[in-house]
């Protein structure tokens, strides 16, 4: 009996210790209007009605929903995905909804929500905000607030929630929504197209260089809900924007579904940099809980000399299924994919990119760094396709895997489909392991094992981290070390 109690004490301590590592795991107690669980045409209509959408968008949603019904969940990824009951999820949660008896004021944001974002390090008061960064803060299904909107508008830049864009800039949204990721694209894209709630919309007009970083911070708060955000970025000719995305969620024992779409259109000589630090709740050390992250991200380098760069640091989620891709149809267009994916404990990640070369002299670079620890599985999956007419296409791919311990797995699935003889495609891959000798060498110099792993991992991921904007790079470095804490016994 005594012993049992001792063990319980110990387990409690271990639990506290492992949970401490995820410092974003709190929940916000705020009145949230959540619609009934389940998915049907009525639910799709209800979401559309709540957002007071025009008829064309409801039609788009319904077509997507009907198509989704004909599809099966993809099984080709190197992932062990438990069955997901799509009828057990609520598809819309609005933390900004006013209680019935509360006085109605549309401009006021519940201070609890502002506090939440403060706690996450994302102050939404413009005078307190990070310098040079505008933020769209999304909680559950609704955009809470977008900062610096007016400042940006002076330059003609549109930065707002996608719901607002549908109301204020319907022509732009209708022109581009689904133009890069059609709703038929895949199972999760169809689902998202049917039920997407909020997300950000960015339009950079011709010749404008966006003077500040734009960012969206996604937060899941409500229980038993899915988050289905949708982001659309359009960079008109000769424009430039750097966009950042961050995400966190509370620690819950149940898994939560997140299925997003990001579409980017890059016109002539324009450049878009898209950076992600994905830190959804990864589940606990025993693999309980965590976010299922099924995301379709794709950019279209439509214009000549256009440029798109994806940088991602993936440390969170129980399951990650994500392949930020580029269609290079503009002549001389360029695309980059820089990725660090960390998996620990029971996390699973299947991530990579697709580079589709259609235009002449198009160029793509893929740098992928996988880090696996614990009992996790980490896969790189990439496709390089060079179409018949893509003369002079070039691709360089480098896929490295780093293993900590002997119970984790690292896998590489590079696919190539080259249909033009002038193409030059290079692929390099390495697998390495942090050795006991390396750790001991650091220990002897006075550096603890966890700090040593942090040093080694950050050194290994440096090429990718350096691509991130300054504030994010520092955060990402810390995150890499924290994610791997306790991974070497």
């Amino acid at each position: 009996m005594e012993e049992k109690k001792d063990n319980e004490e110990k387990n409690k301590y271990v639990k506290e210790l492992t949970q401490e590592k995820y410092k974003y795991g709190f929940t916000t107690d705020v009145h949230t209007e959540i619609i009934e669980k389940g998915l049907s045409e009525d639910v799709v209509r209800l979401i559309s009605a709540k957002k007071q959408e025009p008829e064309w968008l409801l039609e788009f949603r319904l077509k997507a929903y009907r198509h989704w019904l004909t599809m099966e969940m993809p099984t080709w990824a190197h992932l062990d995905i438990p069955e997901i009951d799509y009828q057990a999820i609520s598809y819309y949660a609005d933390p900004t909804a006013q209680k019935k008896d509360a006085p109605k004021s549309l401009d006021e944001v519940d201070p609890e929500l502002l506090k939440t974002f403060d706690k996450l390090g994302i102050p939404l008061e413009e005078q307190m905000a990070l310098s040079g960064m505008a933020v769209d803060a999304v909680m559950d299904s609704v955009s809470v607030k977008t900062t610096f909107k007016e400042t940006l508008m002076e330059k003609g830049i549109i930065f707002c929630s996608i719901s607002e864009a549908v109301r204020e800039h319907p022509d732009l949204v209708q022109k581009y929504l689904g133009s890069v990721v059609p709703y038929r694209d895949n199972f999760f894209a169809a689902l998202n197209s049917a039920v997407f709630s909020d997300g950000s919309f960015v339009y950079i007009p011709k010749g404008v260089r966006c003077p500040m970083e734009l960012s969206t911070y996604f937060r899941i708060n409500a229980a038993n809900t899915g988050q289905f955000e949708r982001t659309l970025i359009v960079a008109d000719d000769e424009s430039y924007v750097s966009y950042l995305e961050g995400c966190t969620a509370p620690m819950r024992d149940e898994n939560q579904l997140h299925a997003a779409i990001v579409e980017i259109v890059v016109h002539d000589r324009a450049e878009v940099k898209y950076s992600t630090v994905q830190n959804w709740y990864p589940g606990d050390a025993e693999g309980k809980g965590g976010v299922y992250n099924f995301v379709t991200k794709r950019g279209h380098c439509k214009g000549v000399d256009s440029k798109l760069s994806w940088t991602q640091v993936e440390t969170g989620s129980a399951i990650t299924w994500k392949y930020p891709s580029c269609i290079l149809s503009g002549d001389n267009s360029q695309a980059e994919f820089y990725s660090v994916a960390v998996t620990n404990n029971y996390q699973q990640a299947d991530t990579g990119t697709k580079m589709i070369h259609l235009g002449r002299n198009t160029k793509s670079t893929i740098i992928s760094k996988g880090i696996s620890a614990g009992k996790s599985q980490n896969s790189y999956r990439g496709l390089v396709r060079v179409a018949e007419k893509a003369d002079g296409a070039r691709n360089y791919s480098q896929c490295d895997s780093l293993l900590l311990g002997s119970q984790c797995g690292a896998h590489t699935f590079p696919y190539m489909d080259i249909r033009n003889e002038t193409a030059i495609v290079e692929h390099e891959a390495t697998t390495s392991k942090i050795s006991e000798d390396q750790l001991f060498y650091c220990n002897q110099r006075g550096i603890s094992t966890e700090d040593s792993i942090g040093l080694i991992v950050n050194g290994y991921a440096k090429e990718v981290i350096n691509k991130l904007p300054m504030e994010f790079a520092v955060e990402a470095q810390k995150l890499l070390s924290i994610s791997l804490e306790g991974s070497v016994g």
Binding site: S432, S435, E436, D437, Q438, F440, Y441, C442, N443, Q444, R445, G446, I447, S448, D451, L455, I456, N458, G459, Y460, K462
Partner: protein
């Protein structure tokens, strides 16, 4: 400073050290000689707390503290430094970041504030000069692509940065040409203070010519079987170990 009593240690269940007794006082340099497999490297690994070795009996007291109770990093913070026989390469970790972490961890342990970037780089430049280490090497990853001689020089450079009170040189002379040996040995001598003591493991007299040990020990089959002055090393250089073995067995 260092007091080892009846130390027994094994690796993978095999006993290598079978009762080592050794006392090293402040400022003394001890040479440890012996054939391959005698237990020299095991002793140095046990002193720095390598996890592969298990201490089965005995004690090690360092400056009044029980060394065996301390983690490897705390032993380092307490002033113990090992110049590795085979320094490992750590790709991706620059020497600058590596040393900065090491120096600041030590300062934290001692309750001192971390060095600023400019203070630290100044310190690096000063210490690099002691072992004539190329500035370019300091910007590379730890030991990556270093020649054998450069790795050894890099070990002494790290010693200069961390200013240990007790240094273990495990075959620091192996793989060094005459010039590199002189630079490394002279560098080590420059770093010595009246309080610094050292244990030097070597097969050759040429390193001891520079380091001038106070006491020379011969290790045989896990025990110190003979202890003498500098002349003992010279005798081994000319006559080998067989006469000692005969003495022990006879």
């Amino acid at each position: 400073m260092l007091e080892i009593k009846d130390l027994h240690a094994s690796i993978n269940g095999k006993e290598i050290l079978k009762g080592i007794n050794l006392t090293i006082r402040d400022g003394e340099v001890h040479a440890l000689m012996g054939q391959n497999g005698a237990g020299k490297s095991t002793l140095s690994n046990v002193l720095v707390g390598h996890p592969a070795y298990e201490v089965t009996k005995g004690s090690i007291i360092f400056n009044g503290k029980d060394l065996l109770e301390m983690s490897p990093e705390d032993r380092a913070h307490e002033g113990i430094f090992l110049s590795f026989q085979h320094p490992v390469e750590i790709p991706g970790v620059s020497m600058v970041n590596f040393m900065r972490a090491a120096v600041n961890e030590q300062r934290k342990y001692k309750g001192q504030p971390a060095l600023t970037a400019s203070e630290f780089l100044k310190l690096m430049r000063e210490k690099r000069a002691i072992v004539e280490l190329d500035g370019k090497l300091a910007n590379r990853s730890v030991n990556e692509g270093f020649s054998g001689g450069e790795k050894k020089r890099n070990e002494i450079f790290q010693m200069a940065m961390l200013e240990p009170t007790f240094a273990i040189l495990d075959e620091t002379d192996s793989g060094l040409d005459v010039d590199a040996l002189r630079i490394v040995a002279e560098g080590f001598n420059k770093l010595r203070t009246p309080q610094t003591s050292a244990m030097v493991i070597t097969h050759y007299q040429r390193l001891l010519d520079y380091l001038k040990p106070d006491i020379v020990h011969v290790l045989l089959n896990g025990r110190i079987v003979k202890t003498g002055g500098p002349d003992l090393a010279q005798k081994i250089e000319s006559r080998g170990f067989d006469w000692i073995k005969q003495e022990v067995n006879g």
